[in-house]
């Protein structure tokens, strides 16, 4: 049935009311809405995870004919319980932007020319083969995304690692959660959080470390606020470097100087020990102590190498190490008053309080990102507040499938779908499942993301295929990498849905299908795998990213490894992929179950989801009573001795301000989708620089006036925002990166955590001038 204009208006009216109700009453359910909508024009509602962040909200998309016309939160999805954020409610509009790429384009004589998709795919396959013949297999690379569907990443890994034999596979999740991975691996031996979103209803105290959940994870933030409203004595503490909407909603806002979270975390542990708040029963049975290398560098030079080495120590060594981190000493480093450090320690140390810590980019985009993850785990381990309802250290993921496609499929240079390329058993398993000779899989990792783009600049990589990401906006120290991509002798393929600065440097643009235009899977922050059917047809000549890779693989001669039919390839790939995780530690739900439900958490064992890992009450993989950290050979979680070390670059007399970059509520990452949604674009039309009012007054900068921001790498001019939605402390400015007209990453520094290789977008030195 076609939806007429009046029915559409009524549908919008209904949608607005439901949205308002969901804002006022999180979790409100209107079960009869379906009936009303049918009477209003014959909509069919289909489930999907949201396209945007890593929260993994369940959506119901209303379809009329071939067109998606409405969105509501899925009341059956436990993540959001019917609620959405402003991006989710408007998400389907990304399907219908006027400049949607619907044809393949190939650069001919300097101009992009429309060609049949088959011709473009031929060119991609031929160019890749020519490059391998001329420069070797490690001269071709795939750069993907935490917005890849799981099957996209899986076939990319199978083609590059299994068939071609290069480990040149990376994903933009390296830029957003690699430190969370290495934090988990170094402390627990296995990746991904032990807890789940149900912790939000169980915790008494929430401490958010350097993240702005009110804008970046608004649905989870609403759940947190609802918990505080529904129960007495629930506290939210915002521990951050700038004042945000999250700070204003918190019970306490505590500011620290950039990078000094390392020292504060150690001071909290010092106080926990000094006050006798250590949970000795837990520590004695489930924790061991270790130290690693120090003065580990920042990776700003090409070919930077670092390998940590763990040394086992004892509790007394840990205690002695912490002697440098008295609250009074740390006050001098961090600017956090000693009394506030003691307050935080008392919250963590109170045996009657359940504590959940949340973090995102503030801790992960950090030149000591792995260390600060370790240090927050230390606090939870010392107090035994982990792996039980309400007690959860939890890195919230930024992208919808950073966990599902990057962390679980392993689309990073050193990873395989199960384990790492360096491990012969893991290579053997992959070779068997992929039906390739084990010698095909190179045991040596090649380039992490920053180094991969440096290799493209140097000419070590000559061919790069980029899918579902926009590195010509997001790479730090951007100018070098854009110039590198445009050098003679480089061939760049971009699979995209809209023109971007990345498609501007492409030699071939492949038109991609968007998330609900094809069947797929995402995996969210809490180990939840979420399936969507193809809900609307693919427009024009668009093709799913998975199918693009399959077509190229077949053209390169790998028909045997990519045998699937176009009708069933998503299910077939899922069935193959899940063989990698067939153990109680990581078993995934079967295809049929995922099709039926609004997400299923792994490990999925005997039909049951695992909500809290490493706890025998909930986790069937545990072999010990109560807790079992089975990821480590000693079945213990590791407390690490990690010192405070300064950032790669700090303000000085020439560049006296910190530059902090990040996101805003209305826009998804680089804005290539959300800036095409009129209402979101209108709400936040352009980027800006947040300046502290006192700094602005001193420099003669007024609200809305132009300001030049310069670093040692580049500069740009943009409007000042003073007393806006966020407020940095004196000596810091903040710039969101969603606006491609203002490429703030030409200013940022490509320093990274030597363990995770994740860049630090939160700290570099800049100067400000009136423009």
């Amino acid at each position: 049935m076609k939806l007429d204009r009046r029915s559409f208006i009524k549908l919008m009216a209904m949608n607005s009311a439901a949205t308002a109700a969901a804002t006022l009453f999180p979790g409100v359910i209107f079960g009869a809405w379906k009936t009303v909508d049918m009477a209003s024009g014959g909509l069919v509602w289909k489930k999907t995870p949201c396209r945007f962040c890593g929260t993994g909200c369940g959506l119901l998309v209303g379809v009329s004919g071939d067109r998606a016309v409405a969105v509501k939160g899925d009341p059956n999805c436990t993540v959001n319980k019917g609620l959405c954020c402003v991006k989710g409610y408007h998400s389907i509009q990304i399907l219908y932007g006027k400049d949607r790429i619907q044809k393949a384009l190939v650069r001919k004589n300097g101009k992009m020319v429309e060609v049949p998709v088959a011709e473009a795919l031929d060119l991609v396959a031929n160019k890749m083969q020519e490059t391998i013949q001329a420069h070797g297999k490690d001269a071709v690379a795939m750069y993907g995304s935490g917005q890849w569907s799981i099957t996209d990443g899986y076939v990319a890994s199978k083609l590059f690692k299994g068939s071609i034999g290069t480990n040149n596979v990376e994903a933009n999740a390296r830029l957003c959660m690699a430190s969370a991975v290495t934090g988990c691996l170094t402390t627990f031996g296995l990746d991904e959080p032990m807890g789940c979103y149900e912790d939000i209803e169980k915790a008494d105290v929430f401490i958010t470390w350097g993240n702005n959940m009110a804008e970046m994870h608004p649905v989870l933030f609403s759940r947190m606020l609802a918990t505080r409203k529904n129960r007495t004595n629930v506290k939210i503490i915002d521990f951050a470097t700038r004042t945000t909407r999250s700070s204003l909603a918190a019970d306490r806002s505590i500011l620290f100087r950039p990078q000094t979270d390392l020292s504060v975390a150690n001071a909290i542990c010092y106080e926990i020990i000094r006050n006798g708040w250590v949970n000795w029963e837990f520590v004695n049975r489930h924790v061991s102590f270790h130290k690693g290398k120090t003065n580990i560098g920042y990776g700003t030079e090409d070919h930077f190498k670092f390998k940590d080495k763990a040394e086992t120590v004892d509790f007394d060594s840990f205690k002695a190490f912490l002697e440098d981190y008295t609250p009074e000493n740390v006050e001098k480093i961090s600017g956090v008053p000693a009394k506030d450090i003691k307050y935080l320690a008392a919250l963590y140390g109170d045996p009657d309080k359940k504590v959940t810590s949340f973090w995102t980019m503030g801790m992960n985009q950090h030149t000591r990102g792995t260390w600060i993850n370790n240090l927050v785990y230390n606090i939870h381990l010392l107090t035994g507040k982990i792996s039980s309802p309400g007690n959860s250290p939890f890195s919230l993921t930024g992208q919808p499938s950073a966990c599902g496609t990057v962390r679980e499929v392993g689309t990073l240079t050193h990873k395989l779908p199960h384990g790492v390329v360096m491990n012969p058993d893991h290579r053997k398993m992959a070779a068997e499942i992929w039906d390739v000779p084990v010698e095909n899989i190179d045991p040596k990792p090649t380039y992490h993301t920053v180094e991969m783009f440096r290799a493209l600049d140097r000419g070590d990589i000559r061919f790069m295929w980029i899918q579902v990401t926009n590195p010509m906006v997001t790479m730090p120290n951007l100018r070098r990498y854009r110039d590198g991509a445009e050098k003679e002798g480089r061939f760049v393929v971009v699979s995209e849905i809209y023109p971007t600065p990345t498609s501007d440097v492409a030699d071939v643009i492949l038109p991609s299908a968007l998330w609900i235009e094809r069947e797929g899977f995402f995996g969210n922050s809490e180990r939840r795998t979420q399936h969507n059917d193809q809900i609307v047809p693919m427009p024009g000549d668009t093709v799913s990213n998975t199918w693009q890779i399959i077509e190229v693989a077949r053209r390169m001669g790998y028909q045997k490894q990519f045998p699937w039919s176009e009708e069933t390839y998503i299910e077939d790939i899922w069935n193959e992929y899940t063989r990698f995780h067939d153990s109680p530690k990581h078993r995934m739900a079967p295809y049929k179950t995922l099709k039926e439900r609004s997400g299923v958490q792994w490990p999925f064992v005997d039909g049951m989801e695992t909500k809290w890992r490493y706890n025998a009450k909930y986790d069937p993989a545990c072999k010990q009573e109560d807790f079992d950290f089975y990821g480590k050979p000693d079945h213990r979680a590791w407390i690490w001795l990690r010192p405070y070390e300064p950032p790669a670059e700090s303000p000085d007399s020439e560049y006296p301000f910190w530059l902090n970059t990040g996101r805003v509520l209305e826009h998804w990452h680089t804005g290539s989708m959300t800036r095409r949604i009129p209402i979101l674009h209108k709400a936040m039309p352009k980027s800006y620089v947040e300046i502290n009012p006192d700094d602005a007054a001193r420099l003669g900068i007024t609200n809305g006036s132009d300001v030049k921001i310069s670093s040692r790498r580049g500069s740009l001019v943009m409007q000042a925002m003073i007393n806006g939605r966020g407020n940095p402390p004196m000596g810091m400015v903040f710039v969101p990166f969603f606006d491609e007209k203002y490429l703030i990453n030409e200013v940022t520094l490509d320093a990274f955590c030597p363990i995770s290789k994740q860049p630090d977008y939160k700290k570099c030195a800049v100067k400000l001038e009136r423009a």
Binding site: R6, K10, M12, M14, A17, F25, F30, A32, W33, V36
Partner: protein, 76 residues
Amino acid sequence: MPVFSYLAYPEKGAKEQLLKDLSEVRYCEITPAQNEEILILLTDTPDEDSEIKLQKQLKALDSLQSLSMTFGHVDD
């Protein structure tokens, strides 16, 4: 041809009564929340006169505590 949507708040304990009352009013479509004491009221009247009459009817309902408008559309 005005279309409006509202969140309708019943008097205490009167959600079912409000649902019944609104069901009997012309031009009204009602969607009750399953788990909260609110309803969504969608009105679709043919002209301004009907809209004015409807407003009066709604104001006279004893079971209705208040209405919060969430959407409004009137054809030029």
